[in-house]
Amino acid sequence: MSSLTLPPQTPATARNRRLLEVLGAVAIAGTYIYLVLNQPADITGGPGSASALIALSGFLVGAVLLIIGVLPTLPVSTLVLIPVALVLNIVLGQFVGSTLVPFYLDAIGTVLIAVLAGPAAGAATGALSSIIWSFFNPTVLPFAAGAALIGCLAGLAARYGLFRRFYLAPVAGFLTGIVGGVVSAPVAAFVFGGTSGLATGAIVSAFRSMGDSLLAAITKQALISDPMDKAIVFTLVAVLVYALPRRTRLQFPFVRQYRVLAGTASNHPGNQPTGHSTGQDA
């Protein structure tokens, strides 16, 4: 065809990127397993900096590999939404983090992208969110892998229809939160030696006072906070995406292809062809 049209996609580049994604996932999983297997000796003995370094570098390398693998494959229409998601994450996360609530609500944007554009976009958004947020708050940097996992799981939940029924969204969020909490706990334990918030810290203290090891106490705290937090986040995202107009929702190929949201497959009878442009037409 002419130079004004695009050539068809080549499969070779796609394969390389898939490899990077897999490597990223392996790095994150390997780091987690290593940390959990080796934890008891380290934490009380010394400052635990070897574990801190392993947690930091393993999770970060994994997150960066994911970004490198996914980012070039995203269409520009998804790419421009990522800053919007990050802004939502950061604004809500900073606000909630400053209150005495044991929640974070710092994943609304990530989950939103995951629901509209799929698991890969969600994972990249989660990782990017942590990395860019660390410009203002370096303490979120080590949680990049956990955030990527949340985005990926949210995308999978959307793909398999858990956002089609409103009551399933919090359930999906709850389950995602369990996984996310378990993965993020070693970071909190080894890098921070605790949690970065006062409210979450109080919960950890309660478990420590019962004699739990630090990792166990933080994991239990995460199992209390994270599933609730993600259930709330998934619910809020469901509220938001269902408030979007049909045409806006359907502009996302992922939503169309997997029928992510209820009522997006068939046409509304009330949809008359009177005004056919978006709000920008005037």
Binding site: T44, N137, G197, L240
Partner: protein
């Protein structure tokens, strides 16, 4: 002379890594002092120190309360109230960790507060993945301050329509929906326009990219970056090879 943005970031990053790897009191305190001193010298202290305080104060308090009061592994008990036991080991652990984290946070903030973001974006923009990362970074930083004024505009428009935010959690949840829906809609719609505009201006196409903005670099800085990264790697390797040295 202004540092090349990658040099500043490399310096901040490897200092943070080396401090974490060193895991020693004197190193952490030296880095903290140096970061604060440099922030004054660079004129970034007025913006950086409050930002650091917002992060570090709750973090340090949380660590002190957590390990100062509850440290089951501690043996030297200094005081005890019910289940809470203040132990020397707990306090030491909390303070060591607090110093180490403060050093890393301060040095990274110093890096991000002194780097010229437009320069960084220009440097990153000229290559594939980096161009996309640079876009996400710069666009987020541009949108972020605009959000609060936009939310304020939406709040005013809705109050003018007669929406009164009721006190209590249900009221806040309702207000979230009233304000978040128009905010999200306008952001998503704008993003759609921006996507089309960017694509029409060649963003995302294959092929070489040039940069209008000139960022000064020098061979010395290029070498310095390599040395800094190697030093950070060496610190990690050393620490993993000898996990308990210096502890």
């Amino acid at each position: 002379m202004r540092l090349h943005p990658l040099t500043s970031l490399a310096a901040a990053g490897s200092t943070a890594v080396i401090t974490t790897a060193a895991a020693s009191w004197p190193v952490s305190l030296t880095v903290i002092a140096a970061a604060v001193g440099l922030s004054f010298a660079q004129g970034a202290a007025r913006r950086m120190l409050p930002a650091a305080a917002v992060i570090l104060v709750p973090l340090v308090l949380s660590l002190l309360a957590l390990h100062g009061l509850f440290f089951p592994e501690g043996t030297t008990v200094l005081a005890q109230w019910g289940p809470a036991r203040v132990t020397a080991q707990g306090l030491q652990f909390a303070l060591e960790r607090a110093a180490q984290l403060s050093a890393a946070v301060l040095v990274l903030l110093l890096g991000s507060f002194t780097v010229s973001v437009p320069d960084l974006v220009a440097v990153l923009s000229t290559r594939g993945v980096n161009a996309r990362f640079a876009f996400v970074l710069a666009s987020t930083l541009t949108l972020l301050p605009a959000i609060s004024s936009r939310l304020e505009r939406i709040r005013q428009a809705q109050e003018a329509r007669g929406l009164v935010i009721r006190p209590g959690i249900p009221g806040r949840v309702a207000a979230f929906r009233w304000q978040a829906v128009p905010l999200l809609l306008s952001l998503v719609e704008e993003a759609g326009t921006r996507a089309a505009a960017l694509q029409a201006r060649g963003f995302g196409s294959a092929g070489p990219i040039t940069s209008y903005r000139q960022v000064l670099d020098s061979p010395v800085q290029r070498w310095a970056r390599v040395v800094l990264l190697l030093a950070a790697l060496a610190a990690i390797v050393f620490r993993l090879w000898q996990p308990t040295a210096g502890a």
